[in-house]
């Protein structure tokens, strides 16, 4: 069954049709052309598709597209306009990406953490990204990057 959905995508109102059972990830990537959320496992195990729905961290692969009607949906692309988010700068400074596939999801998860808890401990950072798999970095540079931004935003 085809259902109309209206929501905001990175601040821009969009209206389109979704098929029954279609995931938000598929709608974002294939219908809206926003390929920043990645398809990793398709079952909520890797976090590569992490987005924010009304400010809450969600897995786009497990979210039915029709359920975001009326919601605000944000991908990592929302953070980089007009300037890079401090987290994106810190990920570069700390060499927190190798292949880069987990990076968009990591940054969305980290931004959600810092928005709700600006002064996280190391353990809280680990907890916040524990749903996001990284195969390359060994996580250390990612944790360091997030803690560096937290320190910088609190002192600013």
């Amino acid at each position: 069954m085809t259902t109309p959905v209206h929501f905001t995508h990175n601040g821009r109102p969009v209206s389109l049709f979704t098929e029954a059972g279609e995931s938000l990830l598929s709608l974002l990537r294939l219908k809206l052309g926003d390929q920043t959320p990645k398809y990793g496992c398709g079952q909520g195990g890797c976090g590569a598709c992490s987005v924010r729905i009304d400010g809450q961290l969600r897995l786009a692969c497990l979210t039915l597209a029709e359920t975001v009607d009326g919601a605000e949906v944000e991908t990592v692309a929302a953070l980089s306009a007009p300037n890079l988010d401090p987290l994106q700068e810190a990920f570069m400074d700390h060499f927190a990406a190798q292949c880069g596939y987990c990076t968009p999801g990591m940054i969305v998860a980290a931004r959600t953490l810092l928005d709700t808890n600006p002064r996280p401990s190391r353990d809280e950072v680990i907890e916040a990204i524990s749903g996001n798999l990284c195969r390359c970095t060994g996580y250390e540079p990612i944790i360091d990057a997030i803690l560096a931004v937290a320190a910088q935003e609190v002192s600013a």
Binding site: Q43, G45, Q98, E140
Partner: protein, 334 residues
């Protein structure tokens, strides 16, 4: 029933690349009329930093800023041949090919600059900032952009170069069986300390201390990144990852991401790394490459530490709690 601390050590001589059938890689370098260089490679960047390192090597050889170099690894069908990104060979083999290609392109650029300045090319030097000037007379200069432009529009010269680096095939001495399989070795020493719980079979509190000898760290941050991430993957292979844990039968093996076990950010080992630089005589600016050596030593070091802790030798990976408990049971029964 108790927890036992154990220590395992490992030493590695790691061969860079392979030459049993010959091991060549090629690079093509050319400049557009703006003095912006492209390095065309078939060698693939898997995230290990091939693009960054070859870009640095090209810029250093050409004598231009890193920002004036773009590395294109787009297509192994249309690019010059490369054996591939494996065997920890990228920095060493491809880096040498890039140097050879960049030297040729630099010579054309300097020849054009020499004609512009009416001097001998051997009297010229680059400042690495985008200028070419007469040695000892920096005011007599031309930009690399103007030199590249003049070469193409005034003198009809292509500012380009091709390079290949080959480690030739090593024949076997029929009398002795001797052969020169490897020309360049990297090295590592590693100590792993961990705790084994003899009741649950679980490994915890892993501490890694390592020293890597990698020729020259052409990009120290990339080097550190690869060593940290690689050791994580080594630990993952040593103690976690398998498609075949059978509890109690093969039907219970993991079928997907959700049931395939890998260490997460909360399972990290503390890892202190020392990087030792002993430039390789045949390496690009002395570089060898950490490659697979960053992951490999963790596996035997963990196995040795488990043996030291509880006296069981596990020779099947991964070293899961189940395998440790089965071995302990056998040990008690014997």
């Amino acid at each position: 029933m108790a927890k036992h601390r154990g220590r395992g050590t490992v030493a590695v001589n790691y061969p860079i690349g392979m030459n049993l059938g010959g091991d060549p890689s090629q690079a093509l370098v050319h400049s557009n009329p703006e003095g912006q260089f492209t390095v065309a490679l078939s060698s693939i960047d898997l995230g290990q930093g091939m693009k960054s390192v070859t870009r640095q090597i090209a810029a250093e050889t050409l004598g231009v800023p890193v920002g004036h170099v773009y590395v294109d690894t787009a297509d192994s069908d249309t690019g010059a041949q490369c054996m591939g990104s494996f065997a920890s060979r990228g920095t060493h083999r491809v880096g040498n090919a890039v140097i050879a290609a960049a030297k040729e392109a630099r010579a054309v650029m300097l020849a054009a600059a020499a004609r512009e300045l009416e001097v001998n090319p051997t009297d010229l030097e680059t400042d690495g900032l985008g200028n070419i000037h007469v040695k000892g007379a920096p005011q007599r200069s031309v930009t690399t952009k103007d030199a590249a432009n003049a070469a193409q529009f005034k003198y009809g010269e292509s500012v380009s170069g091709s390079g290949i680096f080959l480690i030739p095939m090593s024949d076997v001495d029929v009398e002795t069986g001797e052969m020169n399989t490897v020309s360049c070795f990297a090295h590592c020493a590693m100590i792993v300390d961990l705790t084994v719980d003899d009741k649950t079979g679980e490994i915890s509190d892993v501490q890694i201390n390592s020293a890597y000898e990698i020729g020259r760290a052409l990009n120290p941050k990339l080097m550190e990144q690869q060593l940290v991430g690689g050791a994580w993957m080594g630990l993952s292979h040593a103690a976690y990852e398998t498609t075949e844990p059978a509890y109690p039968s093969r039907d219970h093996r993991p079928f997907d991401f959700s049931s395939y076990v890998m260490p997460g950010p909360g399972d990290l080992a503390q890892h202190d790394i020392a990087i030792l630089e002993r430039p390789a005589p045949d390496g690009p600016f002395g570089g060898k490459g950490p490659g697979e050596m960053c992951a490999n030593p963790v596996l035997p070091a963990v196995a040795n530490a488990v043996f030291d802790a509880v006296g069981v030798e596990i020779d099947t990976l991964p070293i899961t709690p189940e395998r440790i408990l089965r071995a302990l049971k056998e040990q008690r029964g014997a």
